[in-house]
């Protein structure tokens, strides 16, 4: 393995890790702040991909507009889902079970809605103009769109860090994660906070779906395909920990990228191996669970 190949493979891992992180971050945010395990988070990713496809193919051909529509659409649907359904089960004795039933039913409903509107055929969209080529650095070819995705991932990390640590809403979100009742007694509108956090998280998922759409096949069931890996990321990083999701994505992306080369016949199971190792040696995840803003 020469050094340039290691760099190429590392960048491949980063691309994978970034898309993984954009999905997993939303999943972990909802869990961290709301203590809700949103099994349907992948479906918002899928919804984002379809909304981007719809925008580009029928309304307005600019990819970035499409990504915005995907973000907005997934966020609004997410807030509605929280406001109309999830809110009703908070604080019930059987909340955990209900959460899984309810969010699992979201998967089925969203999958069917997508199938009714867009059909079962695979869809795909072009990479945004300006990002269709590839960059040649030191004899290494890397598609510019992959580099852009990595850039977006970094931007989201920095933005999230700023919001969570430097702004009032960020502090409220972190405090709500720690003690919901205390926040309510201090006059914070907790239900509103929950709805907004849900909206932001699902918007992130929608954005990930839009970014992934030019690279992957847009198909019903795409949500399930990403939720498993995202779940592994969240378990590795620590349930509900935003930075854990980031580190978890990086680890998983790179482990897969190099497993493909070193142990190809095991490539499809290494992610589970990593998860099992973490569960054995650090069952709470690499970072403390449910501390949204702690670094």
């Amino acid at each position: 393995m020469d050094i340039s190949f290691i760099i190429v493979q590392f960048v491949s891992g980063l691309t994978m890790a970034t898309l993984l992180f954009l999905v997993a971050s939303g999943l972990t945010l909802i869990f961290g702040v709301g203590n809700v395990f949103n099994f349907a988070h992948g479906s918002f990713y899928m919804l984002g991909a379809y909304l981007a496809y719809q925008t580009v193919s029928a309304w307005y051909s600019n990819f970035w507009v499409a990504a915005f529509v995907a973000c907005l659409g997934a966020g609004i649907v997410g807030m509605l889902a929280e406001f109309l359904f999830l809110r009703r089960i908070y604080g019930r004795a059987e909340e955990g079970g209900f959460q899984i039933l309810l969010t699992y039913s979201f998967i089925l409903v969203i999958d069917d809605i997508v199938k009714i509107i867009w059909g079962s055929e695979y869809k795909s969209i072009l990479r945004p103009s300006g990002l269709r080529g590839s960059a040649e650095v030191l004899g290494i070819t890397i598609p510019t769109y992959n580099l852009a995705i990595i850039g977006f991932g970094l931007a989201v990390v920095i933005l999230a860090w700023l919001v969570l640590t430097r702004t009032r809403p960020g502090r409220i979100a972190r405090a709500t994660a720690i003690d919901r009742e205390m926040m309510a007694t201090m006059g914070v509108n907790v239900p509103l906070t929950m709805t907004l956090v849900f909206g932001i998280a699902t918007a992130l998922g929608g954005f990930a779906g839009a970014l992934a759409a030019p690279l992957r096949s847009v198909t019903p069931g795409a949500g399930i395909e990403v939720i498993i890996d995202s779940l592994i990321v969240v378990v590795i990083g620590g349930m509900g920990n935003f930075w854990g999701a980031w580190l978890g994505s990086l680890i998983l992306g790179e482990v897969i990228a190099f497993a493909v080369v070193i142990v190809p016949e095991w490539a499809s199971v290494v992610s589970y191996v990593v998860m099992v190792l973490v569960l054995i040696f650090k069952p709470e995840g690499l970072f403390a669970p449910r501390s949204v803003g702690k670094v």
């Binding site: 795909s124 070819t141 493909v260 080369v261 190809p264």
Partner: protein, 418 residues
């Protein structure tokens, strides 16, 4: 209490509604076909196309008065592409629904599970799509019949293509990428077997096993680039091929290596999903092509499907269409759908004219393996927008005779001994 009563009434009404259509059908003589196609997830398109095509064939036959006084009736349940679930449904089909045939199945994993149910219950299972050769060779049982090509046939055709290619483009190294389950592994083993059998010199430089329905292939692409194979064989199918092609194209993989996917790579959904993005010159095939052979029968079949559904069919559709024709031909010969042993005899060696048969050839079922024997055409992606939304279709066909693609007797014997 009022609520409970209302609820009870609703349940009764619902049950009545569900049962009503069945009781109507029970009045006339029917051939009941219990299908198990996936209707959800990534394989959902294959299921949808199969059911639409099967119903198309059924409507045609029933419109002409059915078969020997029997009307055909298809019931389908979402297989969810899960073997254990499919087995439960199949048992219900046999015990409660009293179906005459089990039918369908996209995933080879589900097919392998159902052939056991078929064997135990002596219920004929018509396989229309799944391609793992194991079903007709290693795990052969008398009540199973397959009406679409298996991976051995595709890989034999692929190997012959590569043999001819040596003359125009000398190649030496070869790599493989395919899904990490029976279907993916079978293809690679069979290709290697056929390369040996035809005496084609080659050096394997890489083997890659992503999981089925993987979303991201970037790391595989960059690693394949490092291997620099002359030929990349792909055993991916459906949305996996779409994702792989989209991710590999900007890396320039298709300029550096010849991409060759002889079993499922040339299925119409790849063309419809990728449009003008699909690189030219990829070597692809599938179990049915919308633009080959250019016979009246094939054109007629594709047009009918398009009129009915508003989309062009994937190969899964033709398999299901063939399955219904095979059932109706068998029942026509036997006179009723109840005499299973006579139906098995009727299916063995049956000749059946299908849309994918070129002029002068008729598909037939090999009595020794219960596998349909068909011609295979391998093509290259070329510009062609006659089947929108596709902007590319296959062309520059190379045709392989059906008999040349069958597994040799010693291969079958050695597999069955195990």
């Amino acid at each position: 209490m009022v609520h409970k009563k209302a609820l009870a009434l609703m349940v009764v009404a619902l049950v009545a509604l569900l049962v009503a259509p069945l009781t109507v059908f029970a009045q006339e003589k029917v051939i009941k076909i219990g299908a198990l196609y996936p209707m959800t997830g990534r394989a959902g398109l294959y299921g949808l196309d199969s059911v639409d095509a099967a119903e198309m064939a059924i409507d045609e036959i029933n419109a002409k008065g059915g078969v020997k006084g029997y009307k055909l009736l298809l019931i389908n349940t979402d297989s969810k592409a899960k073997p254990d679930h499919a087995v439960r449904v199949a048992r219900r089909y046999i015990d409660d629904e009293k179906v005459h045939f089990l039918f369908g199945v996209v995933s080879s994993a589900v097919g392998l599970a159902l052939t056991e149910v078929s064997k135990q219950n002596k219920k004929i299972f018509i396989g229309t799509d799944h391609a793992s050769t194991q079903l007709t060779v290693d795990k052969f049982q008398p009540y199973y019949f397959r009406v679409s090509n298996n991976t051995f046939q595709s890989m034999a055709a692929g190997a012959l293509y590569l043999k001819e290619l040596k003359q125009t483009k000398p190649w030496e190294t070869i790599a493989y990428i395919g899904p990490d389950y029976a279907y993916g592994h079978d293809q690679w083993n069979e290709l290697k077997y056929n390369l040996e059998r035809f005496g084609i010199k080659h050096k394997v430089v890489g083997e890659y096993w992503p999981k089925l329905f993987a979303a991201d292939y970037t790391a595989f692409v960059t690693s394949i680039l490092k291997d620099k194979p002359d030929i990349l064989i792909s055993g991916l199918w459906g949305g996996d091929t779409v994702a792989f092609v989209k991710q590999a194209a900007p890396y320039g993989l298709f300029e550096k290596t010849l991409f060759c996917s002889p079993d499922a790579g040339g299925n119409y959904e790849l063309m419809s999903a990728t449009g003008a993005e699909l690189p030219l010159g990829l070597v692809l095939s599938a179990r049915h092509h919308n633009n080959w052979p250019e016979t009246a029968a094939n054109k007629d079949y594709v047009d009918k499907f398009f009129k009915r559904t508003g989309r062009y069919p994937t190969y899964a559709a033709e398999g299901a269409y063939a399955g219904i024709l095979a059932i109706s031909q068998a029942v026509d010969k036997v006179g009723n759908p109840d005499d299973t042993e006579a139906l098995v005899k009727a299916l063995e060696g049956m000749k059946i004219q299908l849309p994918e048969d070129p002029d002068g050839f008729t598909s037939y079922i090999d009595p020794g393996t219960h596998q349909i024997v068909q011609v295979q055409a391998i093509g290259v992606s070329v510009a062609n927008d006659k089947y929108p939304p596709a902007k590319r279709m296959l062309g520059q066909w190379k045709i392989y005779k059906a008999e040349d693609l069958l597994p040799p007797k010693e291969y079958i014997d050695s597999k069955r001994k195990k």
